[in-house]
Every structure is written in C-alpha cells, then in structure tokens.
C-alpha cells in the first residue's frame, strides 16, 4: 500500500506524542493533528487520553466526525484550563505565523491596535506554551506562515520562556529545535519533498542537516487504522491534497 501525503502527515503528527504516556493529547490544530493523537493512542501510546472535542474524555477512539460510544472522563473547559497549569497535557495547535524559535501568532495580522486582519485571538496559546509541551501542525507550509518575526506572540517560543516546543509538522516535513540555541531545524522531509522546496517555503534561515532523513512511512496496520477506523470519510485529504 502506498501512503498519501496526508497519511504521512498523520503519522508524523502521531510521532510527536511518542513517549508521552498517560497525559491528555489535545489535537487542536486541524484534521491531521487530531487524527495523529488518535493514531498514537491506537498504536504506540495506548495510555494517552483523548477528547471528543467537547467535554468528554473518550474511552474509545471514534472516527473523525463520528460519535464516541464510550466515555471515561469529564473535561469541561474549566478543567481543560486547570489541566494546562497542572501540566499533564501535550497540545498540538495551528499557527497563522511562526518564527525560528517557535513563537506563534493566531491573534492578528498587522498592527495589533488596528489589525489588517483580526484572527481568532490568543485563545489558550500563551498558557499552553508557557506550561505544556506544545507542537504545531501547519497544513500549508509557506513564507506567509514561516516568518522572520511574528506580528503578535500568542504562543511563546523557546526564546520567550516556552516549556517545550517539541516539533512543527507541516505538509512538507517535520521540524524541531534540536540546535544549540533552539532555532528551528529540519528534522525530516516527507517523501518526494526536496530541501529546496522547504527553503523556498520558509521565510527565515532553517538549520538544514547535511543529509536530511525522510519522514517515516506508515506501517500497513497504521494505514488500515487511518483509512478504516480514524478517518473513513477521508477528511485528511481535504486538508492535505495529494
């Protein structure tokens, strides 16, 4: 079986949660982020806790857009915000802009006082990044997102006191901060993507290893889980077209 780009992305998002154990995996950044938390739970991180997007911690792993049949816990928004401070949580958010240290913006484009474009607002990004392990999912890697300097720091990066910005997964590859001063580094390229493509789509200098490895392929069992159990409606392909 050949994996689509979206399926490579789901696996890369799942890999972000490897080793996390019995904590809440919050896939807020989009379809592949959410699918990734569920794939990790169904395979190599069976102790992860996941939600139905509302107040339920699910005892099963429902398909995207489907109903959970088993509930194992209650996590209303107030407890979600308690959990942020408590710390047993790894969140994968989206980003309208992100810089080389992982500072993220989801608030505004332009001057905050009179924005060119008002986006969501800071939401929980300041607290998430200051106290929880945070990763990002960016379905469309471009210089508009990967910028030298974000217009507003919603989520704090490594140079502003982040707890841990673990990885940034995009439609082109996986990026981490395993450099001497926590600048962003190319960790792996998705199959078929070149270094030049990534460099052209990034608005700042990335650390590029001499030989960038390829992001791993899903196993046959992972592909079956993605296609039949987690996302039978193929929502992932709308987010990352092949």
């Amino acid at each position: 079986m050949t994996a689509s780009r979206a399926e490579i992305c789901v696996v890369a998002c799942a890999e972000a949660f490897r080793g996390d154990g019995e904590i809440v995996a919050a896939g807020l950044g989009g379809t592949c982020a959410l699918a990734g938390t569920r794939l990790a739970r169904l395979t190599f991180e069976p102790d992860l806790l996941t939600t139905n997007g509302e107040a339920y911690l699910t005892g099963d792993v429902p398909p995207l857009g489907g109903r959970s049949e088993v509930t194992e816990g209650w996590l209303p928004f107030r407890d979600h915000l308690w959990l942020v401070l408590n710390g047993r949580r790894h969140v994968m958010m989206g980003a309208s802009q992100i810089d080389r240290y992982g500072n993220q913006n989801m608030s505004v484009i332009g001057d905050w006082a009179r924005p060119k474009s008002q986006l969501l607002g800071s939401r929980g990004a300041p607290g998430n990044t200051r106290v929880n392990t945070t990763s990002y999912w960016v379905p469309k890697h471009s210089p508009r997102v990967f910028v030298p300097s974000v217009d507003f720091v919603s989520g704090v990066g490594w140079d502003r006191g982040a707890h841990e910005i673990r990885v940034v997964v995009t439609n082109l590859g996986v990026f981490d901060f395993a450099t001497s001063d926590h600048r962003m580094r190319l960790r792996s390229l998705h199959p078929g993507v070149t270094v030049d493509e990534v460099v052209a789509a990034t608005g700042f200098d990335l650390e590029i290893p001499a030989a960038a490895p390829e992001s791993r392929q899903p196993t046959d069992e992972e592909l079956r889980l993605i296609r039949e159990v987690i996302d039978p409606r193929g929502l992932r392909d709308r987010e990352v077209p092949s």
């Binding site: 905050w112 607002g121 800071s122 300041p126 200051r130």
Partner: protein, 284 residues
C-alpha cells in the same frame, strides 16, 4: 418571590457604558435572545466580557460596543466571527485581549472578591505587552514570577440555562457548565434566560443536583426564552444550528446580504425571530 421578567425589562434595566459579562463559550449556550433584545435597544458604549461568539459579533454589528474583553471571538465551526473582525479592522471597538486561562482566573478573582489571582499564563507573550496595566509579581515563597490577573468585575452578567425556577435557581443539561456560575458570582447583577421555567420541586426531575449551577442568591431576574440560545448550541437536544450559523456568517460578510438578513430575522421581537427561523427552515 418571583423574579420573572421579560427580555425587554432586562434591557430596560441596563444603561450606557455598562460592563456586561456574557456566559457560554464561542458558539455554545449563548444568551442570544437577551443579546438580540440589546440590539433592538438604544444602549451604547457597552464593555462586553466574554468567551466570545456571535454575542460579541451581533453587538458589534449593532454599534453597541465600546470595548471587548476576551481571549477569542469565534463561531467554533466557523473559526472567525465576521462582525468582530470588521469592528477590529475598522477600529470601531477597543480590545482587551487575554489568554483563556487568564480570563478564567480574572473571573475567579472577581467571584471570590480577591484583588488578583496568580498564573503563569501570559508570561512572555504579547498579551502582557498590549495590556500594560497587567502586572507580574514574585511569589513570596519561591520567588517565581507570575501574572497577577485582576478581577474581571462586571455590572451585569447574562447567562442562558436549560431550566430555571421563578426565583432564579438554574440548571444546565448539556455537557459543559462553561463559566456561567463564575460570571453570575462575578457580577453585581445577573439575569438568567432559560429554555423553560419549572416549579422548584421539578428542578431535579431532569438533571442531578450537580447540574444546579446557579443559585438564586446571585440572580436578579429570570426570563423564559425557548430557543433563546439559537443559533448556538444548548443542552443535550439543541445542537448548534450549523446551517443557520453559516447563513449568518455569509450574510455578515456582505453589506447587502446583511441588510437582507437583518430585515428577515432581526427586525422584529424575539417571537418574530423564532418565527422567521422556523419559516426559513421550511423555505430557505
């Protein structure tokens, strides 16, 4: 003593420049019947404190808002609220932008009548830069720096519950209380709208005692507004009206379409709104 009122009476008790907290979260259990009643009034220059959704958007569209205090304004399934965006981009409202957790701690401080609550949320972010009045302090124990979130005090809170009795005890039947009890405790006066008024002995017929979120001790008035959270979600039965919300968002993006939407749905009272929505369902 009965505290039952009409939405118009609630709005008549408000005045220009007030700080009004609105319960719910995003496009979930918003007291939109009360919001629509404010839109029909002459009120202006309100400060709105909310985990914002179409409540903030509608009030911006009707020119009722001077300032918004919020960590976000969103319709959830539609990420960006078009009227709020327009108001911010045109510079017609000022904005106090908080982190979600900071916001909750502000509500907790107000509900507990404390001068502040400490949290790490916000440190290092631009939220502190655009709110220069926010202060950080050092812990007297370990010396850690924390944000001292001031109380989100408010003159009035508006919340929507599934059931209430005539004295203002109210319960929710959905999966999440949101922060509605904290709004009620933070405010000087709280008005509860509800899907259905019931007799006090019947309050626990549909939910456990833990679902009795709001006590009459905090409530000034109760309004029965069936469908009053529409088009946001409410309780176990009324999921968000996604089709109507999509119509709202699409209309809001275009002046002519918005004029048409206003004429069709928002030109009359709440009963007229509910009728118009019903007719639209039958004949969009």
């Amino acid at each position: 003593m009965s505290k039952v009122m009409t939405a118009a009476e609630v709005v008549g008790s408000l005045s220009d420049g007030m700080t009004i907290g609105i319960g719910g979260w995003g496009s979930r259990r918003k007291p939109l019947a009360l919001v629509r009643a404010i839109c029909r009034s002459a009120l202006r220059d309100l400060t709105i404190v909310a985990y914002g959704g179409a409540d903030v958007g509608l009030l911006c569209a009707y020119g009722k808002v001077g300032k918004v205090v919020a960590p976000f304004v969103t319709l959830d399934s539609i990420p960006l609220e078009p009227h709020f965006r327009k108001a911010r981009q045109n510079g017609t409202v000022s904005f106090v932008e908080y982190d979600e957790g900071m916001f909750m701690f502000g509500l907790l401080a107000a509900a507990h009548r404390l001068p502040f609550m400490p949290t790490y949320a916000g440190l290092g972010s631009s939220v502190l830069e655009v709110n220069p009045s926010l202060r950080t302090i050092r812990s007297p124990y370990g010396g850690e720096e924390v944000v001292a979130v001031p109380p989100l005090t408010m003159d009035v809170a508006l919340v929507h519950m599934d059931r209430a009795d005539r004295r203002g005890n109210a319960l929710y039947l959905g999966p999440d209380p949101y922060m509605d009890d904290l709004f009620a405790k933070a405010a000087t006066r709280t008005y509860v709208s509800c899907e259905r008024l019931v007799d006090t002995p019947d309050l626990l017929k549909e939910g456990p005692v833990q679902s009795l979120l709001i006590s009459r001790a905090h409530v000034t008035g109760v309004v029965e507004t069936p469908g009053g959270a529409h088009f946001s979600s409410c309780g176990p039965d009324n999921t968000r009206d996604e089709r109507f919300q999509a119509l709202y968002a699409k209309s809001a993006a275009d002046p002519a379409a918005w004029a048409e939407f206003q004429e069709r749905f928002l030109s009359g009272d709440e009963a007229a709104y509910q009728d118009a929505v019903q007719q639209w369902r039958e004949q969009p």
